[in-house]
Every structure is written in C-alpha cells, then in structure tokens.
C-alpha cells in the first residue's frame, strides 16, 4: 500500500485541528469552571452559561446549560484524545488488556479512598487516591513483567483479578460506613464526574500529551523493535515504566465516564480501527484520536438523546467505527495481535 492521497491527508489534518481546538476549548472551560470565584473569570463563567442556554435552545436540548454536563462532556472529549494516544503504543506492544488491569487496580484505589474517608471523615478526592493506587498497580505489573520476562497474560490476569478481589473486600468491609454507589464506578456514569475529577482529567491530558510529544520517537522504537532499541542504548526499562504509568493515569481519568469494566475499550478499539486503515504509524496515531473523538461525541449523542448509559454508548459507537474500518479496509484479514 502506497502513500496516502492529498485529500485524505488534508481531511485528517482538518479533523486533528478541530480535535485540538475542541480539546483546548474544553480545558479552557474546565479552567473557567474551576476559577469562577475570581471576579474576571466569574464574568467568563456567566458568559459560558448564557452560551450554553443559547445552544440548548438552538438544539432543543437540555444539556449545555448545566455545568455538571460541561464537566462530563469535557472529560469525555479529553478521554477521546489521550486514551487512544496511549493505547496506540499499548496495542502494538501486545498489552491491550493492561488498561483493564489498571482500571481494576484503580477500582481498589477508589475502595481504599472510600474506606479512608468513611473511617476518618477525610474529604479528599477519591480520584486522587485511585490515581496513587493505580500508579502503584502499574509499577507492580511492570515489576512482575520484568521478573517473568514477559508482558504475557499471566501477570496481567493475576493483577486484574487480585486488585478487583481486594476492591470488593474493602467495599464489603466498608459498606456499613458509607452509602456508596459502586455501580457508578463499575459501569461509568456522567454524574460520577465531580468538579475535582474533571479538573484532574484536564491536568492528566496536558501531562500525557506533553510526555507523548517529547517521547514519541523513543516509545515508537521500543514498541517496534525493543532489542534494537536496547542496542541503541535507549533506556527501555524507563520508557516501559513511563508508558505503563501513563496508562494508569489515563485509565483513572477515563473510568469516571466509562467505568472500570469498559475503560480498556477506549485504549484499544479506536486503535484497532485506525490500524485497519492507516498507512503509517504516525497516521495510526492521528486516526486513533479521530476515531476516539467520533466515539465519544457519538456516544454522548446516543446516550443523551436515548437516555442510555454513556460508557456503554461510547464503546458501542467505537466498535461500530471498528467494523466500518474493517469494511473500508482491503487489509481486513491482516492479523492484529491482541495477545
């Protein structure tokens, strides 16, 4: 398969440009939301609410005038950028299920956070505790993978089930102490997105995009040919750790909307769709983000208009993109390893 045509290239550039504008606007919106108590920003916040009402009256919806919906949509848009970005490296490293594992670890983190807050009256962010536990889980998986010399499914299965087991034990133990809704975290729920959770997602997005831009080459090299990367004196262990920690961070941000069970889908499905039709690795990255964005916006539209769960809607739209990509691709039989 040869070079891509100028029309397609231009289309992808426009799509990426729009996505970038949208993502920056969402980060701006979350910043305005966070700083609205300041006089100047307060004015901007009021303007945004008016714009939201206007948009609602234009579309005949009851969505954009509510700040909690802004936060959910902004979080979703940002997930649609960073999850496929990190997922592109994971899928091609045959680590497709690592996201699922780290989501379960983060779930144990949420449980720990709940227990701590119920027992001590602490009112910190559950997401922050999930983040810390998720990163520890990531380092644990990395440690196991180094010791067993493989990212094979055994350490992944052990970590996945083990951390979920711990999470259920803690939640069962702490149930008497708090009236916590576990389903929200298991299946994802737009009402789970707290102001601090949305702000965390904004910080995560800036961080992850920055790190990927800075280490694009190194991550590509170790993904494509780890041994040659070692010979070229790249610190492979360090980049592997960086990738898995970034995965944990993205997963924690994404599980607010998608839930523990579905979060891996955004790391994998848009990438699988992109891989079907992309001509190069760079194009795979671009298309993954575009498919991710289509899935999130499409999923939100279905979810809001039909009153269905958001996480499930996003994943179903993503899978529809994947199936379309297979149909559109002449390489539909090319095996994509999912180990």
């Amino acid at each position: 398969m040869g070079r891509i045509g100028p029309f397609r290239r231009r289309l992808e550039q426009v799509g990426l440009g729009l996505t970038a504008i949208l993502a920056v606007a969402m980060i701006g919106l979350l910043t305005v939301d966070a700083l609205r108590s300041f006089p100047l920003v307060g004015g901007l916040y009021d303007q945004a609410r008016i714009a939201g009402r206007l948009l609602d009256s234009l579309l005949g919806t009851n969505v954009f005038s509510h700040p909690f919906m802004w936060r959910s949509i902004a979080t979703g848009i940002l997930i649609g950028v960073v999850a496929p970005l990190v997922g592109t490296y994971l899928v091609h490293r045959e680590m497709a299920l690592i996201g699922e594992t780290l989501a379960h670890t983060a779930f144990a983190g949420v449980a720990v956070g709940l227990l701590v807050s119920a027992a001590t009256g602490w009112e910190g962010s559950l997401m922050l505790v999930a983040l810390v536990v998720g990163i520890l889980g990531a380092l644990g998986v990395q440690w196991l993978a180094e010791r067993t010399n493989t990212y094979g499914d055994v350490p992944i299965a052990i970590m996945l089930t083990g951390s979920f087991a711990v999470g259920t034990l803690i939640i069962s133990y702490g149930r008497g102490m708090s009236g916590f809704n576990v389903e929200g975290y298991l299946f994802g729920n737009i009402s789970v997105v707290t102001p601090s959770g949305a702000r965390l997602m904004a910080v995560i997005s800036v961080l992850v995009v920055g790190v990927i831009v800075a280490t694009y080459k190194q991550l590509l090299f170790i993904t494509f040919d780890e041994q040659a990367a070692r010979v070229a004196r790249l610190n492979v262990t360090w980049y592997n750790t960086l990738l898995i920690v970034m995965t944990a961070i993205v997963v924690v941000g994404a599980m607010q909307i998608l839930g523990v069970i579905l979060v891996a889908a955004m790391l994998v499905v848009p990438v699988a769709a992109a891989t079907q039709v992309a001509h190069s690795f760079r194009e795979t990255l671009s298309l993954s983000i575009l498919f991710g964005q289509v899935s999130v916006i499409g999923g939100f539209t279905v979810s809001i208009s039909q009153g269905l769960p958001t996480g499930g809607s996003i994943v179903v739209v993503a899978i529809a993109c994947y199936l379309l990509a297979i149909l559109a691709s002449s390489r539909s039989t090319t095996p994509l390893s999912t180990h």
Partner: protein
Amino acid sequence: MTVVSLENVTFAYAEQPAVKDVSLTVDEGDFLGLVGPNGSGKTTLLHLMLGLHSPDSGSIELFGEPVAAFDDGERIGYVSQQATSRGGSMPVTVREAVTMGRFAHAGHGRLTDADRATVDDALETVGITDLADRQVTQLSGGQRQRAYIARALASEADLLALDEPTVGVDAESRDAFYQLLESLNASGITIILIEHDIGIVTDRANRIACINTELYHHGDTESFVESDALTEAYGATGQVLHHHH
C-alpha cells in the same frame, strides 16, 4: 582500533553454561563470521558483545569502553533474526523504520532536514528507495532485512551486528544481501555476522570465530578452513551446512 574485545567471558542461563571462557577481539574493518552448531551460544555471545547481557565473569569492551558504560548507541546497528522482532502487524512504513536509526542521535529533540537526508541516503544505498512508503509488514524477507540494514546505516553505525539475517530469504535475494554486506564492509564498516551456512561465512568473512560454548577457533578464514575446529565444535552429532555454488 579494537571495536570489540572479550577477555575470559563466561555466561550461564541459571546453571546452564552458554558461553565459557571466551576471549577474542574484533578490529576495525573486520568481517567476523560467528559460527557454531544450534544452541552453541552464538546469539548469547553476540548479545554479550552488544551489552544485552552482562557476563558472569570476564570483561567486555566496546570501542575501548567497558560495555556497561558504553552509551554511543548510534555506533552500533543491530539486525536480529526476523522472528524475534516485534511489530509484525504494526503499520510502520519503511521510511519510519529506517528513521529510527536517527533516534539515538536526535534524543528528545526534533529530527532535522539533515537527519532526513541521511535516511534518504541509507534507503538508496540498500536499494529500497522505491519501497519507502510501503509498510514493513508488506515486504519480502530480503527487502525487510535491507530495511533493517538501512536503519543501521541511517544511524551511521561503525559496527553492524547481524544474527542469522537471511533465515527465510530466497537464495537470489540472499546473494544480493551478502554482496551488500561485502560492499559495506569495504567502505569501512565492521561486521559481525552469525550465519548457519558455513559456506557463506567462509566466502565473505575475513575472520572466523567458531564456538560451541567454548571458543574452538578464532583467526583468519584460511586458517579456519584448514583447521579441524569445525569438526571439533560440531562434534559427532553436529550437522554442518555447506554452501554449494
């Protein structure tokens, strides 16, 4: 100048010795053929030379530096056995793969026009300019190995290490591939080649190291051909593959 120097190097996987008390040197401009029966420790020895394993005892130097401290990654080009390289289904173009040779030079900075020109030169040298926009997965075995050689050239490597690069490559492409290696060697690049076909090695290499855990021969090709090293290393059970013209 000595490119690689091993002194009394021993390495074992758990209790299973793979390389025992091996001492040898590779000088600048050498074309060293590394031969030995299957499971004789050839790949392990190459990995030790490149710093992918640390020896249990003995010392290894790369370009005059202890191998563990050596950090000029761009000076070494490595072409592994095809089967061991990941990315079998990764949509990476030939140009992207060859550009990886510039990554050690660029670090976290952006690639420059000079980097891209070096990549173009490397593609041209191995004769795959017309395949630059193809995916690596769509190449034949011979073309793919040329792409990996181009990656090593793009990194402006002084040492090219190849581990059975032509497994699964048809005879015609294999001959062309070895001609390419010869011309690269003539231009001053030091080559270490693991190859199971003894005939190819004795035709192309100017030095031979023959090992079966221990070193049975290390010297020029003529003395290797005249010696009994091959029979001794392969033992009674060994199958020697000779190359027929």
